[in-house]
């Protein structure tokens, strides 16, 4: 293992050695789970299993990080540029799939049906642009970071400086959400306080990226990918087998979707459902009246009772398979418009996030960078094609097994989850008929993934494995994001702009210090439990898209792009996106303009939701770059020469291929 990460090994035997090591690692992980399962049967308490999973996996990642520690810049910044395409694909998969993908996505699909598929289409379609327009060119350019590309391509400090600003802006908003996710999972797995959980997870993140930079993060991410994909697939496959007899959920969930659609019709025409929804709506109205001090005054007991009722649903479920729904054609068009706007923002954002793009700096050659995007997308699809199946399979259980059954015979897992956390799942007999109506179930979307093992009747060890998978997803993404920020600040800001004479050792040392500071800052923000975290994550995509996409694309494909043009364009893109969010997103609007959240939203442009603000920022960025470039002086020859180098293969690449 120690020898494995040594740089002396020739590339071909390095790759075959990696395959052996990770093959053994996978077997090891599976045997570890089997042993724990056996111990569980022998009476090992669940708490102990949770702790074992938490500490064993964090210890493992830390061990890999320790074995690949380095102070050498090429290793620290780009993993020595010798990560084979297949393994870079796995590392990118883990880097990319965060707690939101692992835990949140299937839940989002459960709630949103077709509408939520915009996330899947955008987050995978982005790799088409990474492959075709970015990865190979950035790899041929062969520097360390994305601001590095902007600085060298355009010359002058301004594009580099703005690049650092945007990279930190989008990575920081993203990493706060990840660290929060780590805290939530650690708490769930072991029962420690949320604040403690955040710092436990942080320790795990730091051992990797702190000791060995990109090299340590790469080899840890590969091992985290293996854990997270096994943990995600096993319960879904089991659920698919028990429901349909077919072990491939991607093939079997079509028939379950049909059944869900039939059940939806049945539920929608049930008079008891209508009755419950009316009761819930009445309860909500009464509570609101009481709050606004009109109508009858309620006493505490009445309030408590009404609050329980108000947890129910007031509208019938969104038909899962129906694309765009609305009372009028206008409503339908509005849904359609926002579906497309979201896809555009997520696609272009995916293609512009620095922590993903810099992964393609680590392959040995340009051609391996191209192949590596194919592997990345394949590994990501393993999870992304499973999530829609999982959502439908769980929905079938709820609609078929739970709805219509009696309160006296609730399944075990329902009672257990209601006892664990009422905010995740609660059911109360609102109309007192002893039968469960769908409108009486209040369900949090996170439970779709977390409770799948119990829904399928699997032992607790699988639940522990799923939590460990979610932890791996959150940790790996945090590592990548922290590294992207630290490298931007140390390499670009410190080394390239403040102290170009800094020694090799000093550069790496600065990078490690910055990493530590950023990590602790992010953990402190995450501890505050910022309210609208989901919005911040989506905002990161719009920021990345409107700040970087036009600057990178025109930088590679348009000779005439000038230094001034690109600087103004990046700033305009970010500003337009930020402005649109600030005037239309209640939480951000309160923060900036001090307008209360409840005030009506008045400044919507073309009916686009603030989550897709990048749809305005990206064209604005392109427009400004092109117009300003045309009226400023033609860029100097050395910058155009650099562009030539980025476009055409060099002879040395041929020797690298053979």
């Amino acid at each position: 293992m120690v020898k494995l990460f040594n740089p002396e090994l020739p590339q071909s035997s390095f790759a075959s050695r990696l395959k052996k090591v990770y093959g053994l690692y996978t077997l090891g992980f599976i045997s570890f789970c089997v042993v724990l399962a056996a111990l569980e049967q022998l009476g090992l308490p669940q708490e102990f299993i949770g702790y074992t999973f938490l500490f064993a996996t964090i210890f493992l990642y830390a061990g890999i990080g320790f074995l690949s520690k380095t102070n050498e810049p090429d290793n620290y910044y780009v993993a020595g540029r010798r990560v084979p395409a297949l393994f870079n694909g796995m590392a990118t998969g883990a880097d990319w799939m965060s707690a939101a993908s692992f835990i949140g996505m299937a839940g989002g699909l459960y709630v949103g049906g077709y509408k939520a598929l915009a996330f899947i289409m955008g987050w995978t379609g982005g790799y088409v642009f990474v492959a075709l327009l970015l990865a190979p060119f950035l790899r041929r350019f062969g520097q360390y970071t994305i601001p590095d590309f902007l600085g060298t391509r355009y010359g002058g400090s301004l594009p580099r400086l703005i690049g650092i600003f945007i990279a930190v802006l989008c990575s920081f908003t993203y990493v706060v959400a990840q660290i929060k996710g780590v805290g939530v999972i650690t708490t769930r797995l072991t029962g420690v306080e949320f604040e403690v959980g955040v710092f436990l997870g942080l320790a795990g993140i730091l051992v990797c990226s702190f000791l060995g930079g990109m090299r340590a993060v790469t080899w840890t991410q590969v091992s985290q990918y293996i854990v997270l994909i096994i943990a995600y697939l096993i319960p879904v496959v089991w659920l698919s087998v028990t429901q349909t007899g077919n072990p491939i959920p991607q093939l079997s969930f079509g028939q379950q979707l049909q059944k869900v659609s039939v059940l939806e019709d049945k539920i929608n025409s049930d008079p008891a459902e209508v009755e419950v929804m009316k009761m819930v709506a009445d309860a909500k109205q009464k509570l609101l009246d009481d709050q606004n001090k009109n109508g009858e005054k309620l006493n505490e007991d009445q309030k408590k009772e009404l609050k329980v009722i108000a947890k129910g649903a007031t509208s019938s479920p969104r038909p899962h398979a129906d694309p765009f729904i609305g009372e009028t054609q206008e409503d339908i068009n509005s849904e359609k418009k926002n579906f497309f706007a979201l896809i555009v923002c997520l696609t272009l954002g995916t293609a512009s996030l620095p922590h993903i793009l810099m992964r393609y700096y680590t392959t040995p050659s340009v051609s391996e960078a191209r192949t590596s995007v194919t592997w990345s997308l394949l590994f990501i699809l393993l999870l992304y094609l499973t999530a829609p199946a999982l959502a439908v399979l769980v929905k079938f259980v709820i609609y078929n097994d739970i709805v219509g059954s009696s309160f006296a015979s609730l399944p075990m897992w329902v009672e257990k989850w209601m006892a664990v956390d009422a905010s995740l799942l609660s059911i109360s007999d609102i109309n007192m008929d002893g039968i469960i109506q769908l409108a009486e179930i209040s369900i949090h979307k996170d439970i779709v993934v977390l409770a799948t093992p119990e829904i399928g009747g699997l032992p607790f060890v699988i639940s522990g494995m799923v939590a460990a998978g979610g932890l791996a997803a959150a940790l790996s993404t945090s590592d990548g994001l922290l590294l992207a920020m630290a490298n931007g600040l140390s390499h670009d800001l410190y080394y390239k702009m403040i102290d170009p004479k800094a020694s090799v050792n000093k550069r790496v040392r600065i990078s490690k210090t910055v990493l530590l500071i950023v990590a602790v800052l992010a953990a402190l923000v995450a501890q505050q439990n910022p309210a609208d975290i989901l919005f911040l994550v989506s905002a990161a995509f719009s920021f990345a898209a409107s700040g970087f996409f036009p600057a990178l694309i025109l930088g590679i494909f348009w000779r005439r792009t000038t230094n001034v043009g690109v600087s103004l364009g990046m700033l305009t893109g970010i500003f337009v996106t930020f402005y649109y969010m600030a005037i239309n997103q209640p939480w951000l609007r309160e923060l900036i303009f001090d307008i209360p959240k409840e005030a009506p939203i008045t400044d919507i442009w073309f009916g686009i939701d603030p989550i897709s603000a990048g749809i305005f920022g990206v064209p604005a960025g392109f427009l400004v770059i092109v117009l300003v470039s045309l009226v400023t002086k033609v860029p100097p020859k050395e910058n155009i020469d650099l562009l030539e180098n980025v476009r055409y293969p060099e002879l040395k690449e041929k020797s690298a291929q053979s």
């Binding site: 398979a321 896809i343 094609l385």
Partner: protein, 90 residues
Amino acid sequence: MKENSLIKQKYWNKLKTITVILIVLWFIPTFVISFFANELTFDFFGWPFSFWMASQGSQLIYLLIVWIYASFVNKLDKTYLNELQSPERN
């Protein structure tokens, strides 16, 4: 030298062509088929067609695009470098 710039021109044009074709291929499932999602709900191996396209079909097409690009351009690179080294054969 002149031949070299011709070879370069040819390489870049081919690269541009395949890129444009593949981006059009990305556009069709992503926007054209989704645009008519409410109409395209006929049965497709048990799924409503538009749901299947959005949840699996488009992603498989994306994977195909990325794979085609990698294998095509990796070959193109090799041809380009061979031509550069022995321009008299062309």
